[in-house]
Symmetry: C2
Subunit: 342 residues, 2 copies
């Protein structure tokens, strides 16, 4: 590709293709001033941008500087209590900073995500907080190219600015807990493969086990959704195995609750015959008849951080992605030593 053969205006995509990186990387580098500590990749991107005569779409950026004092939020589902809680934290911190937050769900469908976001852009909202990013997300690259101001939360994608929980660490903590209790036959009820949150929780869990010489057979790793019904189905599969697992990590509290229901239906006791740990520590985890151990995530901090990040971006300040630290709350569902093999 040579400059004089095309009259097309240079785009982030061209730079990304030439540099062999994702658009989100180009976007991140070009949003920030160059420094002496720039990486080799950052230097290559800046060089290509100069050579191609790339200019940020400042007209679009300035058009959008007419403030409406409103932030548009997209989540997978508001019926997901974690998403709803993060949304409410965003709403509260946005309000404290003088912004009204408006929300809607995409049902985790990229087409619905796109139409909702285009609607928010049409209404000239000041910034977007996007909680339903997929790992492969061409539309987010397009938004970066169009200089739309957005911050991802809950899930990351490429190098777009994001605030997530350290899901890999969260998974590793659960592995450590199970090993600590003496479990040897462990299983994981995994999330959806396009969501960074589930993928990273499983990755951290499996890597931490592997480091201790425990490699889970493939039948102990079940791909499922994030709801109770998915947890039920996954647990049914796991309980058909002989020997059964003595500990199950569900990457979501809802699937953990579904799994606990199935364990009960089989006449087994949660926390005695089979340990169960969930993720997110939703408020009812503590009120279940067998209280559920769960990885607790700092929901309010995520909401506050997302609001601070989008406001920084609106002020033209450089924005760095954040990963927040989760921790384990141990309850009766995983307190005992491993049950007898069944």
């Amino acid at each position: 590709m040579s400059e004089d053969k095309t009259s097309a205006r240079p785009t982030m995509r061209m730079i990304a293709d030439l540099a062999g990186v994702n658009i989100s990387t180009v976007s991140r580098v070009l949003r920030q001033p160059s420094t002496d500590s720039d990486s080799e990749t950052a230097r290559r991107i800046r060089h290509l941008a100069d050579k191609l005569g790339y200019r940020r779409d400042l007209w679009a950026a300035s058009l959008r500087s007419r403030r409406t004092n409103a932030l548009g939020i997209v989540v997978t589902r508001l019926t997901d209590i974690v998403m709803a809680s993060v949304y409410e934290a965003i709403e509260q911190h946005a309000q404290a900073r003088g912004y009204l937050a408006i929300a809607g769900s995409s049902q985790d469908d990229p087409n619905q995500q796109r139409s909702r976001i285009e609607h928010y852009i049409d209404r000239k909202l000041d910034g977007l907080l996007i909680g339903d990013a997929h790992l492969h997300a061409p539309f987010l690259d397009e938004l970066a190219e169009r200089e739309v101001r957005f911050v991802l939360f809950n899930r990351s994608s490429g190098e777009h600015p994001s605030v997530t929980w350290d899901d890999e660490l969260g998974g590793a903590i659960v592995a450590q807990h199970f090993l600590d209790l003496g479990h040897e036959r462990m299983a994981i009820i995994n999330g959806l493969n396009y969501s960074s949150s589930g993928v990273m929780r499983a990755k951290g869990f499996l890597a931490a086990l592997s480091k201790e010489g425990v490699n889970l057979p493939s039948e102990m790793v079940i791909n499922a959704g994030f709801d109770a019904a998915a947890g039920r189905e996954a647990a049914k599969e796991l309980l058909r195995l002989r020997p059964r697992p003595t500990a199950i990590f569900a990457v979501n509290d809802y699937s953990a609750i579904g799994a606990m229901g199935v364990i009960r239906d089989e006449g087994l006791e949660v926390g005695k015959d089979i340990a169960v740990v969930g993720y997110n520590d939703i408020s009812i985890a503590d009120d279940l008849l067998v209280p559920l151990s769960s990885v607790r995530v700092p929901i309010d901090i995520m909401g506050r951080t997302a609001v601070e990040m989008i406001i920084s971006q609106m002020n033209g300040e450089p924005v760095t992605s954040r990963r927040l630290t989760p921790y384990l709350v141990v309850r009766d569902s995983s307190r005992g030593r491993p049950g007898k093999p069944t």
Copy 2:
């Protein structure tokens, strides 16, 4: 008050004051054409409107006929799974009719409700669906007066158009169920006194008991909030009583789950020593270790009805309030005969 002593333009409030009714009644009557079956009140309102020279604010109504294809939703809390579920049903049915729904919560605070609604009106949304109405709601009267198009859902207030569950019937069903099982010492964990939903559930429950000659002593009626913590506190009070109640109706599943936790902590068995019934039948009710009996409400129908009602109103068609029918789903938490007195 005489017409020639004031130059003020006649308002719905004047008519309401003169007729001795709520503004919502005036609004309902004047939105509809007069018929032979008009009530005495309706005739009085029409007569006063004629006499005062009242004209509906058609200019405002026509201004708002510029469609933006968006509906603004307000709920108490999106972390309330029932509210989030109704919102998602609204979102889905709105989308099918070509409207984008946008949401936000008021935390059940009338000031937050007002500022969110004013923001929606500023953005010229086509219509509002309001799920956080209080029984005393001067701002809703003001909206009616301003000819803002809105429909209430979940809670009613005055005669503003609303779609609710038949909460009185829901409460009566639970009373019938407890009497059927042979309970004599029953208690109710009530909701908030400004919300029609809790008030009507309690009213239906107490009235149905009273009809069978059972009048609850006042210590068996606890006013609480709608969450698990509130249910815990209320249950602690109830379990201090001697003799204890053998059956508890919590007007919300969350407070029922909180109550179940306290019953367990006291070493008692839910469904055996003490029956518990909740309200709303949230999805995890069935997955609890002791599955929770609950009054099921048709969430999807509420969402669809709310959307149909606001679209009818936008088309200038008369709109009648709707009450949807709930039914009881009996599970282990209330299957047995009454426990021994303790």
